[in-house]
Every structure is written in structure tokens, then in C-alpha cells.
């Protein structure tokens, strides 16, 4: 049942969906402390009360860009392998049921998105790309292989 509950958001004006069981909260982040010597999609550290989040820029990860230029706002908080992360998203629309469940991808998807897209989820007649947060902290595809 819970598997049909999704968070709907957008990154780089693409509509995405994340399984609700993967996420803990959506928060607006304060200051982000940058970290030297790490991959460009690792934006830095942010404090969420007494927790320290590693902030991941999903857009930068997908497109390989350096996201440090633009403003960080909303973040999806999740614990993955005992570490807390914040995943930056542009906007969040809703957390709701998608009765249709996960559909296979139709059409030829942008190669940048391909390693991350796990299917399509429909909401209000619009398709959303299903992403798994675990893919964004490890090398893409490795979690899928391991599973």
C-alpha cells in the first residue's frame, strides 16, 4: 500500500516522483557549508537541528553541471545507510497516492536521466519520472545491481 505513496517534485523543470517510504521530511535549508575536494554535486553540509546533512544537488548529479551558482532552497531529507542527506529540489507539489503505480518508461529518455529513471508515475494526468535517492549518493546503477 505504502508503495503507491509518492512525493511529487521538480528538478530542472522536470517533474519527478520519489517513493514516500524513502524520505523523511522536506525542509527549507539554512546555510550550506561547502566541502572542498568532493564531487561537484555534493553541495556541502547543512545543520538540521542537531543533525548534519550532506547536501546533494540532484540536478548537478544528473547533468554533471556545477550547481554551486544557484540558490539552494528546499531539500528532501533522507537517511541512507545510516547517514543523513538533504537532496535539493526546485519545488515540491504534493505527497499523494498514485493508484496507477509504477509504469514502464515510454519514449526515448535523455541519456543524462537514463541511469536514474526507474519508471513513470502518473499524477493528475501528468507523468513523473520515478527517482531513487540511493542512486544519487552512490555510483548510478550500483544500487539497482545490488538489489
Amino acid at each position: 500500500m505504502t508503495d503507491t505513496l509518492f512525493l511529487f517534485a521538480s528538478i530542472a523543470s522536470a517533474p519527478i516522483a520519489i517513493r514516500a517510504r524513502e524520505i523523511e521530511a522536506v525542509v527549507r535549508l539554512g546555510d550550506i557549508v561547502p566541502i572542498p575536494l568532493v564531487a561537484a554535486h555534493v553541495r556541502g553540509l547543512a545543520a538540521l537541528r542537531s543533525r548534519v546533512l550532506t547536501v546533494i544537488d540532484m540536478e548537478a548529479r544528473v547533468f554533471g553541471t556545477d550547481g554551486r551558482g544557484h540558490q539552494a532552497g528546499l531539500a528532501v531529507v533522507a537517511d541512507i545507510a545510516a547517514h543523513s542527506y538533504g537532496f535539493l529540489v526546485d519545488s515540491v507539489s504534493d505527497i499523494t497516492q498514485a493508484p496507477g503505480g509504477i509504469q514502464p518508461i515510454r519514449g526515448r529518455i535523455d541519456p543524462a536521466w537514463a541511469p536514474y529513471a526507474g519508471g513513470l508515475v502518473e499524477r493528475d494526468g501528468r507523468s513523473h519520472l520515478l527517482l531513487s535517492l540511493g542512486d544519487f549518493v552512490s555510483a548510478p546503477g550500483t544500487t539497482a545491481l545490488a538489489a
Binding site: I35, A47, Y85, V137
Partner: protein, 816 residues
């Protein structure tokens, strides 16, 4: 039901842990019925609970063991080793079964019969499945729940409440154990996080209050709240601490089993079980400790016949001591076995191609011993199932170093080996230095920092050779790297000099790290950093200081690696005569450079210096050519006085573990590392020898001579014996109410009465007269006017405390 079952499993496993040590003690002294009761209760409890929980296998095993123990209690059977082994096997099986309920692992049931047979066989012909003892036979076991034990025999009448009561018994009845409750660790972690949140909120509030300005009334309320929060945080941190006893619990059993297997004998002595350390830390230390104990039994302690031949007692002695030393826990494992065979180690190392025979000859003893930590080297002639597979001490050292600890070894051939592990009190809270790097801040564990210097200090010279930067500090060359370069950050403009940190890490040579500035020194709660961060290779963890800004903890070894500094192994090959690893650094000692009052700079081993203090001139009392300093009503012998002191003077308080002396100096200059071996030995008077320090050579003071000198002055053995003071005028109220308490405070013993009684060291009286004197015991007369009158020559004014104290010390010395 599941909950009760889970509780049962947890209780059972925990009780087993506690009991495994007891069972060995019981074997050593089978007459100790209190121990027997503990086991009896355990099996009894298990049996009772299983009946209720419908676990027939547990019940059958527990019943068998209980019967045997009952027979022992009745005196029908003795606790011979075979019996103990059989009982232990049943305990193990119960443990395995309990664990298998939790997991999927299955223990074949058929094996149970073998265990029960073992119980029967070892019974030596007695009827073991005899009915439980009648009440008369059990009077040597005064345990409250005897009634319960009786009723166990009626399984049909089991009531639901009974097992629940019974499960509490094993812990509840142990009079030594403090009352405890069981809490899930997750709850404690949550609690800890909650407190951290509270601290952050408090800091935030404090900042806002500072910015806005609030009235003092509100501020004092806030202060109180703030102090409470701080206390609470300290208390919560303590919940993470556990007694080292937990670490010890499994050792007696292990020693017993191993000695049996190896055909050796050993007595085990565990000390310091009440020392507390972080529970995570305990878990990290279990494996290394187990390994070292195994090694000690397998390789250290000889077979009984060999021991007797070597003139030792048949049973080896294995001692494990834990103690707290500052913010470290020291665990020492010593055996009195054959010691480590250096020659065999060196042979192995040579045949493994680590160095040539010639190079091996130049190794110091400590270097040879440290070879034992080298991967793949073992002195074991043959590989046994217990140890000697070559995966050994190198792994142990790696594990200890991984948690920020240090491991050291000393060994005397034929006399035994001592291995010392020093580990931090806790993994999660470490003292750290906050360094600035542009607008970013990083933390460096203080344990890695040897010293801090300003770049423009006269002790430092920096040169660039072929692109490599070298910092020479007091004649020692170190690689120099800049934090900004390693992290790929721009160097910020700065006005003041940069700070150099001399860093030591477990994996390489010490190096110098240049940073923009060292901001502060804080206790940091360290959490693991996520893999995407540790992938950078220079961060060991992250922390959230009280200002709420996350910060990363630098990894000293990682920085060296990223900067591609030469590693330890490479250095060994290039300079085999040099220290093969950091352990050999123990060959240096820390020494204090100070300036004598005549202006000469000299060295003193830092270990004997207790503190540096300023003494007021009035504190120093010179009498009869000797000087003493009064510190808290004790008189410490004082060296280097220049007659009557007129101004306050700097003093080093030296201690030899028992006595203290004051050593007056002009000023303290620096603390440095010097070789433990002197460059030139002199051994004349106070000077032990010469040490090369940079461009100069300094005289090293011999503390032995200082203390010997002070002891000579003090005279006799009075340093250890309190001075017996006799107050002759027992009726004098001043003597009784003012003087006597003063003398007692100063550590003297005071009696009242006549001189003829006892043998006082000194007599104090209002007026010296023949009546008071007793042989050659010195008499001090105290007058009540400040000016010396003609009536009492040589008397001391009664409120001239310093002179009185000095006179007592001096008079006694004269007698001695």
C-alpha cells in the same frame, strides 16, 4: 508473547555473560556455595521460564544441569573439572539456542543428548536424575526463592506470573550489582540528539539575548537554565559509558578453555573492572584484547614442565589491568612467560626481505620488538589453531590505531611480556583544534598535533628545494604542506603570520601543516561523515559545534596521502637505521628548556615537572642555609635560593611521585623532544650530561641528584614519618586551640603532656625551662610579644608562623 520471549532471550544471554566468569572461579574454589547458587538460579530460572514459554529443549537441558548442581550442593558430588566442563557445555548450548530463536540458525536437537550424557558420565556413578533435594539438604543455600525452587517440580501448576518473577532473579539477587534497567540503545541515542538540539537552541537564544540586550533578571534565569542544560548533557554522555567489567566478562572462560586445550596452567588476575569507557570503544577493544590474551597463553606462557625447569611456578600468571589516565584508558596485559624471541623475529624479517642481516644488526631492541607488529611476522614455530597464523599483531595494531589508540610492547626474555593499549575514553567526543581556511573552518584532532608554532618563529626555517617545501624546526626537517593547497582553496589575504602545526599520524612521518590560523580549542562530538565526503580522503568525520555551523574533521594521515608525502614504508627502505615506525619515537623524551637564575639555559626532563608557579617572596623561608617554601602549610625543600628573596620568583615544582621540591628559576623557555640517550654523559653534581639542541648544546639536569640533595637536607626518614610534636603546656589555651590545629594541618602529630612521656621529635612550650627538656630533644619556646625580650633569648614570636614551621623542620633535621 513475542515481547516476553525477547526479554527472556536478552536476560538469558546477559546472565550467561556474567556467569561465564563466575564458573571458572567456582572451579577454582568448589566449596564456594554462593557461586553455586548463582548457577543453580540461572538454570532454575531458564527452566521455569521455558515451561511457560513452551521451549522443551531449554527445559530439558536446564533440568539436567540443575540436577547435577543440586547433587553438588548436597555434597553427593564434587565439582571436578569434568563436571564443570559439562555444565559449561550446557550453558553454551542454552546460549546458542537462545540466539537461534532470535535468528534463523538451527542447532540440531540430537546433540543435546550428548551434552546430557556428558553430565551423567562425569557424575562418577551417582544417580544424577535423582529427585530434587529435600528441604533439609538445602540449608547451605540461604536464598530467598527457595520456595520457588521447590515448586518447579510441579510443571502442571505453572502460573503465568512465575516466570516473569523468576527472570528478574539472577540480576535482582546479585547483591554486588547495582540496580539497572534495560533500555534500547536507539532511545539513548535519541536522548543524546535531543539534548544536542537543546544545547543548540540555548546557544541561539544566548546569541539573540546578547544582540538585543535583556534585563539582568531575565539573564540570571537564563543562566540557571543554561547551567542545567550543560549538566544534563554531561549526564547523558555518561549513559554511553560502561564498566570495563563488560570487556572482562568473557576472559576467564576463554583462559580456562585455552589452558585446557593447550595443556597449560595459568592464573588470571583482572583489575580495574570499575573503570568506565564508551560502549562503542569497548566493542572496538574486544577483538584486540582477545587476540593478545590468546597470544599470551599460546606463545608467552610455557608448558608446566618447562616453567618448573625454568624455576617458575607451574601456573603462569596473566594479569590484565585497566586504568584511566587523563582522557585515555590504558589496558595492560602482562604474562610471566618466556618473553618474545627477538632473534626469531629478526630472522623472519630478514628472510621476508624487510632488510639485510647487516641492517638488522643495527636495530635497537625496541625496533626488534616492534617487528612483531609487522604484517606476516610471527614467532610461532608452528601454526596452531589458537594463534600464529601471521594475521596477528599487525591487525591488532591497525585496529587500535584506527580508533585513535596506541599500542606498545615490552618484553624481557624468560620473564614475560607486557602489552599496553592506550585508547581514547570515547570515540565520539575528542578535543580538537579549530583551524581557519578562508571563510571555512576545519577541526584537527588534538591528539595528532605535536606542537603549534608561528611561521615567523625563530625556531623555524623554511626552504624550498626542487619544489618540495621543508620546514626545519630545531634541527629536525619536516615536509611542509599548506592546508589551502591540499584542499584546493585559494589562499586568503592575511596580515598576521600563518600558523604551523606539527602533525603526527599513525601511517607516516610527522609533517608540518601550515594553516591560516588556529581559532580555538574545543571538545567536539564527532559523527561519521557520509561516503561521498570521505571519498575525498582528507576528512575523518564531521561535527556540529555549539555555533550550529557544521564542520569537517581533518584526517591527518589522509592529508599526507593526498599531498603525496613520503610514507612510512618508503622511509624504512631508504633509511633502515632510522626508526621503522612511530613506536621507536618512544626513544625520545620531552624536556623543558628553562633559564637558571644566573642566565644559563638548561634542560630538565618534563616528566618530573609538576607545575610552574610564581612564589611570593614571603613564601620562601631561609633558615640555617637551607630554604623551604611554604605551600598550603607544607614546607617544600627549595633549591637555588639567593639569600633572602625580595621579589616574587618563578619556581618549578618537581615531583618524584612521592616528594615535591621547588626549584627556583628565572624563566621557562620552551618544551622540546630530546633523545632519551644523552649526547655526552657528565654525571657531575646536578648535571647529567649534554644534549644537542639545534645549534647549541644544553646541560641536562639530573633530577635524581636534585631529589637526593633535597632528601639529604631534609634528613633522615622524616619525609615519610610525621613529626611528633609535644606541647608541654597542655593548659595554655593558645597552644591548645591555635597552635595544635595548625601543626596537625601541616601534617605533624601533636601530643600534650610532659616531655618524659614517649619520644617526641620536638617540644613546644611557652617558656623554655629545664622542666621541659628531655635529653637532646630540641625545644622551641614561643613568646607572646612580637619583640624579642631579654627574658627569652632564642624564642620565636607565636604568630610568626613561617619561622615556627621552619624551626620545627630544621630542629628535627638536626636530630636526624
Amino acid at each position: 508473547m513475542d515481547e516476553i520471549l525477547g526479554e527472556f532471550i536478552a536476560e538469558t544471554l546477559e546472565t550467561l555473560d556474567v556467569l561465564s566468569g563466575e564458573v571458572v572461579a567456582w572451579e577454582a574454589d568448589p566449596t564456594d556455595s554462593s557461586r553455586l547458587d548463582a548457577f543453580f538460579r540461572f538454570f532454575h530460572t531458564v527452566k521455569g521460564s521455558c515451561g511457560f514459554l513452551n521451549l522443551p529443549r531449554f527445559e530439558r537441558l536446564a533440568h539436567g544441569a540443575e540436577d547435577v548442581l543440586a547433587a553438588v550442593r548436597r555434597g553427593e558430588r564434587i565439582a571436578d573439572p569434568a563436571t564443570v566442563t559439562a555444565v559449561l557445555a550446557v550453558m553454551d548450548r542454552i546460549g546458542a539456542l537462545a540466539r537461534s530463536i532470535g535468528g534463523d540458525e538451527q542447532v540440531p536437537e540430537s546433540d543435546d543428548d550428548a551434552l546430557l550424557d556428558a553430565l551423567a558420565v562425569s557424575s562418577g556413578g551417582f544417580e544424577i536424575f535423582a529427585p530434587l533435594p529435600d528441604p533439609i539438604g538445602r540449608d547451605e543455600a540461604p536464598v530467598e526463592e527457595e520456595e520457588d525452587e521447590l515448586r518447579v517440580e510441579a510443571p502442571a501448576s505453572e502460573t503465568p506470573q512465575r516466570p516473569a518473577v523468576a527472570t528478574v532473579q539472577p540480576t535482582g539477587n546479585r547483591e554486588r550489582a547495582p540496580r539497572t534497567i534495560r533500555l534500547p540503545l536507539a532511545l539513548i541515542d535519541q536522548l543524546m540528539n535531543g539534548i544536542s538540539d537543546m544545547v543548540l537552541a540555548r546557544n541561539d537564544l544566548a546569541r539573540k539575548m546578547r544582540d538585543h540586550g535583556v534585563d539582568p533578571d531575565l539573564e540570571s534565569s537564563f543562566e540557571r537554565l543554561s547551567a542545567n542544560v550543560a549538566d544534563l548533557r554531561d549526564m547523558i554522555s555518561k549513559t554511553r559509558m560502561q564498566r570495563v567489567d563488560r570487556l572482562y566478562a568473557a576472559i576467564p572462560r576463554m583462559v580456562r578453555d585455552l589452558t585446557r586445550e593447550l595443556g597449560k596452567k595459568a592464573t588470571l588476575d583482572l583489575d580495574g573492572g570499575d573503570v568506565e569507557m564508551d560502549r562503542e570503544m569497548i566493542e572496538m577493544v574486544v577483538d584486540p584484547l582477545t587476540h593478545i590474551v590468546r597470544n599470551a597463553l599460546d606463545h608467552g606462557i610455557e608448558a608446566p614442565a618447562d616453567r618448573l625447569a625454568a624455576g617458575k611456578s607451574e601456573a603462569g600468571m596473566l594479569t590484565i589491568v585497566a586504568r584511566q589516565s587523563g582522557n585515555q584508558i590504558v589496558i595492560e596485559i602482562s604474562d610471566d612467560g618466556r618473553g618474545i624471541n627477538r632473534a626469531a623475529l629478526v630472522d623472519k624479517a630478514v628472510s621476508a626481505g624487510l632488510f639485510s642481516t647487516i641492517e638488522a644488526a643495527s636495530l635497537t631492541d625496541a625496533e626488534k620488538l616492534n617487528l612483531i607488529f609487522h604484517p606476516g611476522l610471527t614467532t610461532a614455530a608452528q601454526v596452531t589453531s589458537i594463534s600464529g597464523r601471521g594475521v596477528g599483531m599487525d591487525v591488532v595494531r591497525a585496529n587500535i590505531e584506527q580508533i585513535g589508540g596506541v599500542i606498545g610492547i615490552t618484553s624481557i626474555a624468560g620473564r614475560g611480556t607486557t602489552i599496553t593499549m592506550r585508547v581514547p575514553l570515547t570515540l565520539t567526543i575528542i578535543p580538537g583544534l579549530i583551524v581557519r581556511c578562508g571563510e571555512l573552518f576545519f577541526a584537527m584532532p588534538r591528539g595528532n598535533v605535536v606542537e603549534l608554532l608561528h611561521q615567523n618563529s625563530s625556531m623555524v626555517s623554511i626552504e624550498t628545494i626542487g619544489g618540495a617545501r621543508i620546514a626545519t624546526i630545531r634541527g629536525e626537517r619536516h615536509s611542509l604542506i599548506e592546508l589551502e593547497d591540499v584542499l584546493g582553496r585559494p589562499r586568503a589575504e592575511q596580515t598576521g603570520p600563518r600558523t604551523l602545526m606539527v602533525i603526527r599520524s599513525s601511517s607516516g612521518q610527522p609533517y608540518v601543516l601550515g594553516v591560516q590560523a588556529v581559532e580555538s580549542n574545543e571538545e567536539l562530538v564527532i559523527r561519521p561523515a557520509s561516503p561521498v565526503i570521505t571519498a575525498a580522503g582528507v576528512f575523518a568525520g564531521m561535527t556540529l559545534p555549539d555555533n550550529g555551523q557544521p564542520m569537517l574533521l581533518l584526517d591527518a594521515a589522509g592529508l599526507a596521502q593526498v599531498a603525496e608525502l613520503p610514507l612510512r614504508d618508503a622511509d624504512v627502505r631508504r633509511a633502515p637505521a632510522a626508526a621503522p615506525d612511530t613506536q621507536a619515537r618512544a626513544e625520545t623524551i620531552q624536556a623543558l628548556i628553562y633559564r637558571e637564575r644566573d642566565g644559563t639555559s638548561r634542560l630538565l626532563p618534563l616528566a618530573v615537572v609538576d607545575r610552574v608557579e610564581d612564589l611570593a617572596a614571603a613564601q620562601i623561608v631561609a633558615s640555617d642555609g637551607l630554604a623551604f617554601t611554604r605551600i598550603e602549610d607544607r614546607l617544600l625543600p627549595t633549591l637555588n635560593t639567593s639569600g633572602a628573596e625580595s621579589a616574587s620568583v618563578k619556581s618549578l615544582r618537581l615531583h618524584d611521585g612521592q616528594d615535591q621540591i621547588c626549584y627556583l628559576i628565572d624563566d621557562v623557555v620552551d618544551i622540546i623532544e630530546v633523545p632519551a640517550k644523552l649526547d655526552v654523559r657528565i654525571g657531575a653534581g646536578r648535571i647529567a650530561g649534554l644534549v644537542m639542541v639545534g645549534e647549541a648544546q644544553l646541560e641536562m639536569i639530573d633530577p635524581f641528584m636534585l631529589f637526593a640533595e633535597a632528601a639529604r637536607r631534609r634528613g633522615g626518614d622524616d619525609a615519610t614519618r610525621p613529626i611528633q610534636c609535644l606541647i608541654a603546656d597542655a593548659e595554655d589555651p593558645w597552644m591548645r586551640t591555635i597552635l595544635a590545629p595548625l601543626l596537625v594541618q601541616a601534617g605533624h602529630e601533636v601530643r600534650f603532656g610532659q616531655a618524659s612521656e614517649g619520644a617526641p621529635d620536638i617540644i613546644l612550650c611557652a617558656q623554655a625551662s629545664a622542666a621541659h627538656s628531655a635529653g637532646d630533644v630540641p625545644v622551641i619556646a614561643l613568646r607572646d610579644s612580637a619583640e624579642p625580650g631579654a627574658t627569652a633569648p632564642g624564642s620565636i614570636y607565636r604568630y610568626d608562623r613561617d619561622t615556627i614551621m621552619a624551626a620545627i623542620a630544621q630542629a628535627v633535621r638536626r636530630v636526624a
